[in-house]
């Protein structure tokens, strides 16, 4: 067992645990979006960022991936962290203004109206669906396609996948309800777009 401190409180957790896992043992709240205890952590939403002090140096790390060490000092809710989280939620709210999960998180953090123009997405590219398909059902039918601002989740060639066997794990784990089930079929965000398959 390794001893560390989170927000001044001394806690113990097994070697190899992440800060987030240690915090959850003690019901210390750190917000997350792309984390799921049954899937390997991904570190994409950055919401679970915390400040750590190591060898006198302070830096910001994501708690879902950072492994604990003896004597680590963790601060989960400093002003700098709060500002960062509000910034992330503001960016997500601008991307997904009508998504309930994001609206709730924003309200919780005191973010009302984003200073950016609104888009109209539901998917936050958290990769939970991709990870379920890779790690739980192991079908690997879903992956990220393109990059940067054009990045999205899709099956190969945006066509029904031969590998998919309708376990619906992706829809189950999706934090924003971007993946829907209609008439017993999975409906992904790209299907709603007027997309004649092209690489762009």
């Amino acid at each position: 067992m390794i001893a560390l401190s989170i927000d001044g409180k001394k806690v113990w957790a097994k070697e190899g645990s992440t800060i987030l896992e240690a915090a959850r043992l003690y019901n210390i709240y750190i917000p997350t979006l792309c984390y799921h205890p049954l899937l390997s952590p991904y570190g994409a939403c950055r919401l679970c960022s915390v400040e750590v002090v190591q060898r006198g140096r302070s830096r910001i790390v994501v708690s879902c991936l950072f492994q604990i060490e003896e004597g680590l000092e963790v601060k989960t809710n400093t002003e700098r962290i709060q500002k960062l989280r509000r910034g992330i939620i503001e960016l997500l709210l601008a991307r997904c203004p009508s998504t309930e999960r994001i609206q709730n998180l924003a309200k919780e953090m005191g973010v009302l109206k984003p200073r950016f123009s609104s888009e109209n997405e539901d998917c936050i590219l958290c990769s939970l669906c991709v990870r379920v398909c890779q790690e739980i059902s192991e079908k690997k039918a879903l992956s990220f396609v393109s990059r940067g601002t054009k990045r999205e989740v899709a099956t190969p060639f945006y066509q029904p996948s031969e590998e998919c066997f309708d376990c619906w794990g992706c829809a189950y784990v999706c934090p924003t309800g971007a993946i829907k089930i209609e008439n017993g079929k999975l409906v992904f965000p790209w299907m709603k777009k007027d997309l004649i398959f092209s690489k762009d």
Binding site: R46, G87, L91, A94, S146, G148, T149
Partner: protein, 636 residues
């Protein structure tokens, strides 16, 4: 033949010396990509033709880049006993006369850049004189290589062979001292001693971050695992930087030798060179070099009869700047997309295929054989206390003499831009120099005396990066530059993490708005907020340093932003929505050329009468400005 003993090496060295300094006239042409782009390929063909036609016994060789790209194509002529003459800007048309002049035993002085009476072989620490008393006559008026402004303050370590050897001939590399350091390492030094030497030298990563190389090697050596990798990062994505390409095209064996030395020190037997797809000549050159080195027993099994095995493979990039980031590069080497990962567990412990991996930049590897040969102490004397050795910079943009410059760390920006590269083009006013690529920042005139080293550049809001140095003048708009870099980063972001993907997009939208006259009060504060999110929240270096171009231009050129936002004007005359082209009736001669080239029929007028511009049609493409010989089209 496989080289096994020092005697074998010396034998090849002698062959190489004969090739470098044959007993007859030798002409070399710089045929790196930049040389070829200026027509060096055709110059080479014309030379071969002309020499054949004149039935002359002359050796013609291809060499790498001498660095003075502004003066390409560069041709050197070495006649036995005479100084080496370096000719500049030789075109195929000039070749006929050049050969005719040579046939007469003369020199075409109008076309000469400089002469070399001796050549320094840096690895061996010796100077080779190649002309006698007789040869020195008649060339007193030609300046020496060391006296040319462009070369005078340079000290070539990584570039020491570029332009002097045929990059494909391993014997020439060996003739200038190559592979003797490797022999020393494999037979006379232990891995720990090699690591100590590199640590003592103070060599820091030349790819950007500047991490101490010896320390990195040591961590990798100490990491648990039997299988380890050494990797050469040749992705060189920074726009404006091309030193890695020049080294790979001009002196590939230096990188290979460096990698074997590093692999031995670390205990790795497999290596990868990750090379940018946009560098086809570099790819061909390094592939051939690997084959040759394998053929000579300098790569592969039992190198130099030492029982040390090391093989290297080439992997090509697919056009993604983010793959210059080490964890994204390793993902790409695994056949996956170039998505970086958190580096809480460092790659020296778990990198490629989760095994200890040491990654270094091309220029870093190229320094290694020289450090082994000349010693850590020699290297550490060069440069500054925190930044030892030299750095290669690609100085481009609005300078008179663009090219590759290798200088000791600590030299000032002023010396590089003005003394070496001849100052700003066209006598325009210097405005800023951009260093560090898209992760760096702009440095204004007030800091022109800044000594160049890792810490100093970071202190002023920029960074060393891979060494790209872009000079900007009064006609450059700093808001446009910030917009340019953010547009670049937006396209190159892998898209994995929210701060980078969303943050860069929104910052670019704000900047674009400012350049298009839609800037609002509060935009600057918004950009600063986004900068903080990027810095604190991003997964990798692309994101964390994405704010640098914006924040550094805001720091030094805030009024320019404010003028765009409040007055809707672009002082430099770059942002198209914020200026108009106006035809000055005093200067316009009515030659009608602008009317002919205008794609929108925005210009009209009678021949020989002053013309006029229809602002509602003008798209500011600048085609008219290009063709106007009277400077009559001005920005307002």
């Amino acid at each position: 033949m496989k080289i096994k003993t020092p005697e074998d090496l010396y034998m090849i060295k002698n062959e190489g010396l004969k090739a470098l300094y044959p007993g007859k006239t030798k002409i070399t042409v710089g045929t790196s990509t930049c040389g070829l782009a200026t027509g060096a390929g055709k110059v080479l063909e014309s030379l071969v033709d002309e020499v054949q036609k004149n039935d002359m016994d002359i050796l013609i060789e291809k060499v790498g880049c001498l660095g003075f790209c502004q003066k390409e194509p560069i041709v050197t002529v070495l006649e036995p006993g005479k100084p080496k003459i370096i000719y500049e800007q030789i075109t195929p048309e000039k070749v006929v006369e050049l050969i005719a002049v040579l046939k007469r035993g003369e020199i075409k002085k109008d076309w000469v850049l400089c002469k070399m009476e001796e050549e320094e072989c840096l690895v061996e620490g010796v100077t080779k004189k190649f002309c006698n008393e007789e040869g020195l006559k008649g060339v007193e008026d030609i300046c020496l290589y060391q006296e040319v402004d462009f070369y005078r303050k340079q000290l070539k370590i990584a570039l020491n062979n570029c332009g002097f050897i045929d990059p494909e001939r391993i014997e020439e590399y060996i003739a200038r001292g190559g592979y003797f350091p490797l022999y020393k390492v494999l037979h006379e030094m232990s891995p720990q001693e090699v690591i100590e030497e590199v640590k003592q030298s103070g060599l820091r990563g030349r790819g950007g971050a500047g991490f101490p190389t010896g320390v990195k090697w040591e961590s990798c050596r100490n990491a648990k695992g039997d299988i380890k990798y050494v990797i050469c990062n040749a992705d060189e994505g920074d726009p404006g930087a091309y030193m890695d390409r020049s080294i790979l095209e001009g002196d590939p064996y230096s990188v290979l030798e460096g990698m074997v030395i590093g692999a031995y020190a670390i205990g790795a037997h497999e290596g990868y060179i990750y090379l940018r797809n946009e560098y086809p000549l570099a790819i061909r050159t390094i592939k051939k070099s690997i084959e040759k080195a394998e053929g000579c027993g300098l790569l592969g099994k039992n190198i130099l009869n030492s029982n040390f095995d090391f093989t290297v493979k080439i992997n090509r990039g697919g056009g993604a700047f983010v793959c210059g980031e080490s964890s994204a590069l390793m993902a790409s080497l695994e056949g996956k997309v170039g998505e970086p990962r958190a580096k809480y567990i460092r790659s020296v412990e778990k990198g490629l295929w989760d095994r200890p991996s040491n990654i270094n930049n091309v220029e870093t590897w190229a320094n290694v054989p020289v450090i082994i040969a000349r010693g850590a102490e020699w290297f550490a004397k060069i440069g500054t206390k925190s930044s030892r050795g030299t750095k290669v910079f690609s100085v481009v943009g609005k300078v008179n003499n663009t090219g590759l410059v290798e200088v000791p760390m600590g030299i000032s920006l002023k010396e590089i831009i003005y003394d070496i590269c001849g100052g700003v083009q066209g006598n325009k006013k210097f405005k800023a120099v951009q260093t560090g690529g898209p992760s760096g920042g702009c440095i204004p005139e007030s800091l022109i005396h800044l000594p160049v080293d890792y810490e100093e550049l970071t202190r002023v809001g920029s960074m060393m990066g891979s060494g790209g140095m872009i000079v900007m003048d009064e006609d450059t708009c700093m808001v446009d530059i910030a917009n340019y870099f953010l547009t670049f980063l937006e396209e190159e972001s892998c898209g994995k993490c929210v701060p980078c993907r969303e943050g860069i997009k929104r910052a670019r939208q704000v900047l674009q708005g400012i350049t298009e006259g839609r800037g609002e009060e509060g935009d600057i504060e918004l950009l600063q907020d986004l900068g903080a999110i990027l810095k604190d929240g991003s997964l990798c270096g692309l994101g964390t340093s994405a704010a640098n171009p914006v924040l550094s231009t805001l720091r030094y050129f805030r009024e320019e932003y404010e003028t765009h936002i409040r007055n809707k004007k672009c002082p430099a005359g770059v942002c198209r929505e914020l200026f108009q082209y106006f035809i000055d009736p005093e200067r316009c001669e009515g030659c009608h050329r602008c009317v002919e080239v205008c794609p929108q029929q925005a210009v009209s007028g009678e021949k020989r009468q002053p013309h006029s511009m229809d602002q509602s049609k003008c798209i500011k493409c600048g085609a008219c400005v290009e063709v106007c010989k009277f400077g009559a089209i001005v920005k307002q």
